[in-house]
Amino acid sequence: MATQESGDRIVLLQGTLDLLILRTLVFGPQHGQGIARAIRQTSQDSLLVDHGSLYPALQRLEDQGWIKAKWGISKNNRKARFYNLTAKGRKQLSSETSQWRRLVAAIGRILGPEEAGG
């Protein structure tokens, strides 16, 4: 919902959120809000995470065994649930990343140079 408010923000493609979460967690454990914020900031505000999807996605990744969660204390002294990448998650990330790269390259080839797409 939040993503649709502004014209220059992009609606996330189905399935890409998982990839982004895994990628974000490479830098170390993070809680949900931190993940959302990191995605927004790293994408220079072009990607805004729908929180309605974020938590089910985290749950899903946890069920798959790609991430692990544990309650801890955030830097401003709040209790928060921190997510951590597992070894299995790391493997998943690298395979999903290369898949994504191939997909983007393939779509780019089909669409052609940017000027032609107009």
Binding site: M1, A2, H31, G32, Q33, G34, A36, R37, D50, H51, G52, S53, Y55, P56, Q59, R60, E62, D63, S74, N76, R78, K79, A80, R81
Partner: protein, 894 residues
């Protein structure tokens, strides 16, 4: 262990922490704390939706919902105990009956033999033809269901040996031959059903003994001591499960034989359901006094064979190899005969003689119990439709606050499945007694080796049937229930409306359907009951009251020829001396036992024409006809002198006289039996009135009563008939004592009254009559409940309308009639469905009926009257209630 991986409140805490952190950061960035909190929430989006999505992503959700539904279902069912009781009981009856019939069908028709790799087994048979070799045959002939060919299951022992040694397509070939033995143990002599088996029988089949050891190949050789292996049943029946029996010597056919082992319970030999008591090595046929089983003569065919086909070998290849080998053994005694084609039949389920006719019986039982379950389901569907109409308000509330239709249907279905589960569970407990009742009908003599049990297969069947019926009666009501329009239902107009409900036509159709199916069952019950009455009314031609019968066979004790004939005479004399005995007779076959001897008859020289045809033979004592009270019409009866002299004489029955000597007094004329040249002419000395011989159903055939001494070499088993002045069973003990006093080693078997014997001979008809009547009544009762439910509900809904009618001056009788008329319409509709269906379907039971047509008007009329009466009785209570409505009360409710 856990329903969900994460608790809900844990998730809520996480979201709260998210909001807190977000608002902290916003505050740090310069927003004021109040705005920050609001903005954090705005950025997050819909918290509730997020929570819901988390909730639904749980993989245990369906289970949690199911548990919820179950709890709710339990509560709903507890709130209406009468409904629950009717539902569970009717389902239990339906499912229990189906389970019972299934376990019987499973035991008789479906189960494989309890041997190693039963699917590899093949039964060796050969196809009868016109030019088959001339052999002496003992065993079975049967129609092969697959090829439609008439086949025999017996070979010579020489052929078996050749097969075993020269046909490589089989890894094992085992031989056996069924035979009756006399076993003397613990001071009593009795018949036992046994089998001569080849030495590799048990090892080849891969069956293990419970205690001791099986018969081994080394036992099956000349000169080795005779051994015997018992089946579990016989061990239980005769030796009270005494393990010390192993190693003991028992006397079989007057020869000492050592018991070496007892087989495990399920193994009963290779017939599917005929009980076997013991096994002895096939090499001992002569030692155990078998009169004609021969190990050496190539034309004596009595050995039955099972083979274990090697993997990858085709049946055709194996059969061809067997035929080639069979040819070599036939050449030795019949040069010009055709070598019969060998046919391999699947052996996994045993020989299974009469499987087709047994299947017919089961088909009827199965149809009946299936119909009963269908009626129970229809009944429940109907009650549920009415209930869901009554619950319209609840469902409307749930729909309007956002319950999904799918979720609601699921919940209602859970309730149905709960009922079905309860019914199935109770049905399992009912199945056992039902099974026992059926078995007692089907196997009064306890001769069948049937061991139907409620095992895992049965449980799976019952569970399946329960779920299917739950779906059957639950789906339609659930689907309809959720199609409520919430607005009027909530306004309350749905429950007291004056107009007829659109739901009712469905209920009425369901009731009519129930009535129709009940009529079908009742008509069937009528047909079977009338068949039984017709059979009981048949004039058998003899008097069965006060007759006790038993079988014996002293020939296995070494008596033969003239000595045996004299023993029989002495036994008759001694029994006749028992106080209370009026007379004693004896015949080779017992009457009404379905067994007969027959021979071709010709009357050379008798004009107008040589007449040929078959006649039944009954070798009997002179006193047989008078003891059975078969009246003599012409000439004289057999006498003791006829038993003694070599003069060939016979009494014939009236049908025989009419067939072979039409229009003349046959006394003094002669005829010949069989085709053998040099046979002696037999002179007719008397004509007896027709009497049934083999069974009640078939027409009396031409019958010849010969003195049992006419052929002393073939003399062995006899059935005694003893007419008493006392109740017959009162002298049973005295009779056993008298026989034992004559020779304690002489067996007395199957002692029962002639009336019992007759009842046994029509056991199937009795089973049908009892079974179908009982379930017909259940069906009628269920139809009554259904009809009552619908009418009671209709009257409750129309209370206001009825109140208005009464207030406007309608007479109470008119109101009563209005309700009754509606009920009768349902019954009439049901009859319109049921009667034509019955007229079509009863054709399939035609061959099980006797003396009536499948469209027998009496049966149909009685069924129709019965169901109408039941329907009227069921409608009477609501009709009365309608006529007693108090107009003021009714209108005040509005």
């Amino acid at each position: 262990m856990f329903w969900r991986k994460r608790k809900h409140h844990d998730f809520q805490a996480e979201i709260q922490s998210h909001l807190d952190i977000e608002s902290d950061e916003l505050t740090e960035e310069g927003a004021n704390p109040g705005d920050a909190k609001y903005q954090a929430r705005r950025v997050f989006g819909n918290v509730t939706s997020s929570e819901e999505r988390f909730y639904e992503s749980s993989r245990w959700l369906w289970l949690e919902q199911f548990v919820q539904d179950l709890r709710y279902g339990f509560r709903m069912l507890r709130r209406s105990p009468a409904f629950t009781l009717v539902a569970v009981l009717s389902l239990a009856l339906g499912i229990g009956a189906n389970t019972a019939v299934f376990s019987l069908v499973d035991a008789v028709l479906l189960k494989s033999l309890p041997v190693r790799a039963p699917q590899e087994l093949r039964i060796l048979t050969w196809v009868h033809s016109d030019k088959e070799p001339d052999i002496s045959h003992s065993g079975y002939n049967t129609m092969d269901a697959v090829s439609g060919q008439f086949v025999s299951g017996s070979f010579s022992y020489a052929a078996y040996r050749q097969f075993r040694d020269t046909v490589p397509q089989f890894s094992d070939l085992v031989a056996y031959a069924p035979n009756q033995f006399t076993v003397t143990a613990g001071g009593a002599s009795e018949f036992a059903e046994g089998q001569f088996v080849s030495g590799n029988y048990f090892t080849g089949l891969g069956v293990l003994p419970l205690i001791g050891r099986p018969i081994l190949p080394e036992d099956d050789a000349a000169g080795r001591p005779a051994v015997v292996v018992l089946t579990y049943r016989y061990w239980e029946k005769r030796f009270a499960l005494d393990p010390a029996v192993v190693g003991r010597a028992i006397v079989v056919n007057q020869r000492p034989v050592t018991v070496v082992g007892v087989m495990q319970l399920p193994f009963q030999g290779l017939y599917s359901w005929e009980a076997v008591d013991l096994f002895v090595p096939i090499n001992k046929v002569a030692q155990l006094r078998h009169p004609w089983f021969s190990l050496s003569q190539p034309n004596s065919w009595w050995v039955q064979i099972f083979g274990r086909l090697r993997p990858g070998v085709s049946d055709q290849a194996a059969a061809a190899a067997l035929k080639a080998t069979l040819g070599h053994t036939i050449e030795q005694f019949a040069k010009n005969a055709d070598v019969p084609t060998v046919l391999l039949r699947p052996g996994a389920r045993g020989v299974g003689l009469f499987r087709e006719s047994v299947s017919g019986v089961f088909a009827i039982l199965g149809a009946v119990v299936g119909l009963v379950l269908l009626i129970a389901c229809t009944n429940l569907a109907n009650l549920l439709v009415a209930r869901s109409a009554a619950r319209g308000r609840e469902i409307a509330v749930r729909l309007s606050i956002g319950a999904g239709v799918g979720r609601l249907v699921r919940q209602l279905l859970t309730e149905s499945l709960l009922l079905a589960g309860g019914g199935g569970l109770l049905g399992l407990f009912l199945a056992r007694p039902l099974l026992q009742v059926m078995l007692r009908f089907a196997d009064r003599a306890g001769e069948l080796g049937l061991d139907p049990r409620i095992d895992l297969r049965t449980l799976a069947f019952t569970a399946g049937v329960s779920v299917v019926s739950g779906m059957l009666f639950g789906l339609l009501p659930a689907w309809r229930a959720t199609r409520v329009n919430p607005a009027p239902a909530l306004k309350g107009t749905g429950t007291t409306g004056t107009s007829g409900s659109p739901r009712l036509p469905l209920s009425r159709l369901l009731v009519a359907l129930q009535v129709g199916m009940s009529v079908l069952l009742l008509a069937g019950a009528g047909l079977f009951v009338r068949t039984l009455r017709q059979l009981s009314a048949v004039d058998l031609g003899f008097r069965a009251e006060n007759v006790l019968t038993f079988k014996t066979d002293p020939s296995r004790n070494g008596y033969e020829g003239r000595v045996l004939a004299d023993l029989y005479a002495r036994l008759r004399q001694n029994i006749a001396a028992i106080p209370g005995v009026e007379s004693v007779g004896m015949s080779q076959h017992g009457v009404m036992q379905g067994v007969e001897s027959d021979a071709s008859v010709h009357t050379p020289g008798f004009r107008p024409a040589d007449r040929k045809g078959n006649a039944q033979l009954l070798r009997c004592s002179a006193s047989f006809l008078s003891t059975m009270r078969i009246p003599l019409l012409l000439g004289r009866s057999l006498t003791l002198v006829d038993e003694r002299t070599s003069q060939q004489v016979a009494v014939v029955n009236q049908t025989f006289a009419d067939r072979f000597f039409p229009g003349v007094n046959p006394v003094g004329h002669t005829f010949y039996l069989g085709e053998q040249p040099g046979a002696e002419a037999i002179q007719v000395i008397g004509v007896a009135k027709d009497a049934h011989y083999t069974d009640v159903r078939s027409e009396v055939k031409p019958t010849v009563y010969l003195p049992y001494t006419d052929s002393l070499t073939g003399l062995h088993q006899m059935t005694f008939v003893v007419r008493t002045v006392l109740p017959p069973l009162a002298i049973a003990g005295a009779m056993r004592r008298v026989v034992a006093a004559t020779d304690p080693a002489i067996p007395v078997a199957e002692m029962k009254t002639e009336q019992e014997q007759i009842a046994e001979s029509i056991a199937t008809e009795r089973l049908f009559a009892g079974f179908v009547s009982a379930f017909g009544c259940v069906a009628a009762l269920l139809a009554a409940i259904g009809l009552y439910g619908v009418m009671a509900y209709a009257v409750a809904r129309r209370t206001v309308e009825i109140g208005i009618r009464l207030a406007l001056g309608a007479r109470r009788a008119t109101v009563q009639w209005m309700v009754l008329r509606q009920s009768l319409w349902m019954v009439v509709l049901g009859l319109a469905i049921g009667i034509p269906a019955a007229l079509v379907l009863t054709r399939f039971i035609q061959n099980k009926l006797y003396g009536i047509r499948p469209t027998d008007p009496a049966s149909f009329v009685v069924a129709a009257i019965l169901i109408t009466a039941v329907g009227a009785a069921a409608a009477w209570i609501p009709a009365r209630r309608a006529s007693r409505v108090d107009p003021i009360q009714a209108l005040r409710n509005e």
